[in-house]
Symmetry: C2
Subunit: 322 residues, 2 copies
């Protein structure tokens, strides 16, 4: 039995969209998987009734408080001990649930990941990733996309390893190609961080194929890399600019199947990489489709044992060094 | 009489495209403006003859050497004293020409700008900018787009001033709105540099209206800011990602008039801001149209006295402090 904890109060249209998305996910998940909706029990049952959804399809875990989208993450997480996010992380820590997913306050999700769950041994800082749709029909994983601003070269090396393991485990790529996002092709190009990171990552050939620097004009080209490593500030700018492009295309009335792949709904959520239990963060403006896909992504992360594989890889690495 | 120095050997298709572009520019420039083509005199006259262009339309300044596109900027600039780029900067320094423009090796152009011309008094580091086409039909200036990686908050403040003066002088905006590129809306969001820069720029209200942080998903929206300030690494990633988007759109066969405005040909070149004489850098793959527009941009920079206005503004600022 797998139990996926879902923050019923997370996202701009919660709990309505969460309940609708969770209902749509039910026929797609394993019969042995149980969805645990965490939030205000009264609101959840009321919304279920309103939409004619059988609340008996879910386990409901009561959480009296809610962290709002605009709240200061650290303050809110420290104060609202009975919020759905706090309760979710407590359940995850106590193994009442096997994973926790939320489309709520991203900052609070990250605080909970680090404070309550904690990083895997050997990980300096966890990170988050996103999938970039490529022209050749494939996807490329980009990380970090916002958790670590001012990331050091050592962290970029770890992002390369985390990304490689994600690409192997979730994307099914046997030997991932890793590139470093930079502003020139040559090793000496870029800023202090990328110059040092290039040198360090180029010595990590046992884990992946390092294909060198990639410039942002090649971001969507495909055929270059499976994993793109970058510092969190730059990665977040890249990701948001892609979102902006998607919105621009829509506003211009341009329709092309390629751009459908930029729709965050299809990805649903992204796991926090490098922490000791599965946590998936969804998009704040999550629709029922996005919530459904966030739940399916969460199930996949658990079934593939992403966290266990990350842990094993880090242990192996540690043993080699010792 | 205004004399514009043009690097005849600069760009992937030089001197052919430079000569064709310069010929197309002739009917558009002031009758008192003279074009000085700097490069291999023999090649220039030969190409003119080949295309049936009267070489008497131009002043030709001989330069025996050429810095190739792939050469190491500093080494090439220091060694090839008779290269067209070196000769151009020497002429500019000696006031033989009023401005120098090249679509050649960008790095060498920047080295020449800093080493031979030098920064205006009070400027920590010069920078380069680009125009972002906006949904509302206007453009927004983004700077720095690649000259200063690891830029300090103080430099970002200067970019704000340089951008404001460009927006006033060249774009004709009376009181520019300045935004800071960041990964969140609130002042405390971002990395160490943006947090400090936010605080410093917010105290510069006498020069411009600071509208706060802008996230990259709003890059093309319009109606927010006229000038977007960012550190050179991030700005370069933004610019290249926009180029990548433009290429992607073309590859997908999507046509929409909006994307024509992303074509670098229409902008032709960007001035190096913060140095003591007008220098304009064109795009390496410059077509004749791009060269023509680079020349028109260069004439505009001279006629508007951009450098003089920057110098006055910096002097005023200095006097206030003293």
């Amino acid at each position: 039995m797998t139990r996926l904890g879902i923050d019923a109060m997370g996202g701009d249209f919660a709990p309505e969209n969460v309940i609708l998305g969770a209902t749509d996910a039910l026929p797609c998940i394993d019969s042995e998987t149980e969805l645990v909706l965490i939030g205000d029990r009264e609101r959840i049952t009321e919304v279920c009734r309103h939409y004619g959804v059988d609340s008996g399809n879910f386990v409901i875990a009561d959480a009296a408080q809610k962290i709002e989208m605009g709240e200061h993450p650290v303050n809110a997480y420290m104060k609202k001990r009975n919020s759905s996010i706090n309760v979710g992380f407590r359940y995850l820590k106590e193994k009442e649930i096997d994973a926790f997913a939320s489309a709520g306050n991203t900052g609070a999700m990250l605080v909970g990941s680090v404070e309550t769950i904690g990083a895997l041994p050997g990980i300096i800082r966890p990170c988050i990733s996103a999938l970039v749709p490529l022209f050749n029909g494939q996807n490329m994983l980009i990380l970090d996309v916002g958790l670590n601003t001012d990331a050091k070269p050592e962290m970029l090396c770890q992002f390369a390893i985390l990304g490689t393991l994600y690409a192997k485990t979730i994307m099914g790529i046997e030997r991932p190609r890793v590139a470093l996002l930079n502003i020139g092709a040559e090793p000496e190009k870029g800023n202090d961080t990328t110059v040092k990171a290039y040198e360090m990552i180029s010595r990590m050939g046992e884990y992946f194929d390092f294909v060198g620097n990639m410039e942002a004009n090649a971001l969507f080209n495909g055929g270059i890399a499976d994993v793109l490593v970058t510092e969190g500030f730059v990665g977040n700018v890249c990701l948001k600019q892609s979102e902006g492009m998607y919105e621009l295309i829509a506003r211009l009335g341009v329709t092309h199947p390629f751009f459908k792949r930029f729709n965050y709904e299809f990805y649903g959520g992204t796991p926090v990489l490098g922490i000791a239990a599965p946590v998936v963060i969804g998009h704040g403006v999550s629709t029922p489709v996005a919530i459904k896909n966030m739940i399916l992504e969460t199930e996949k992360v658990v079934k593939c044992n992403l966290v266990g594989k990350l842990k094993n890889a880090l242990d192996e690495e540690k043993n080699k060094v010792e």
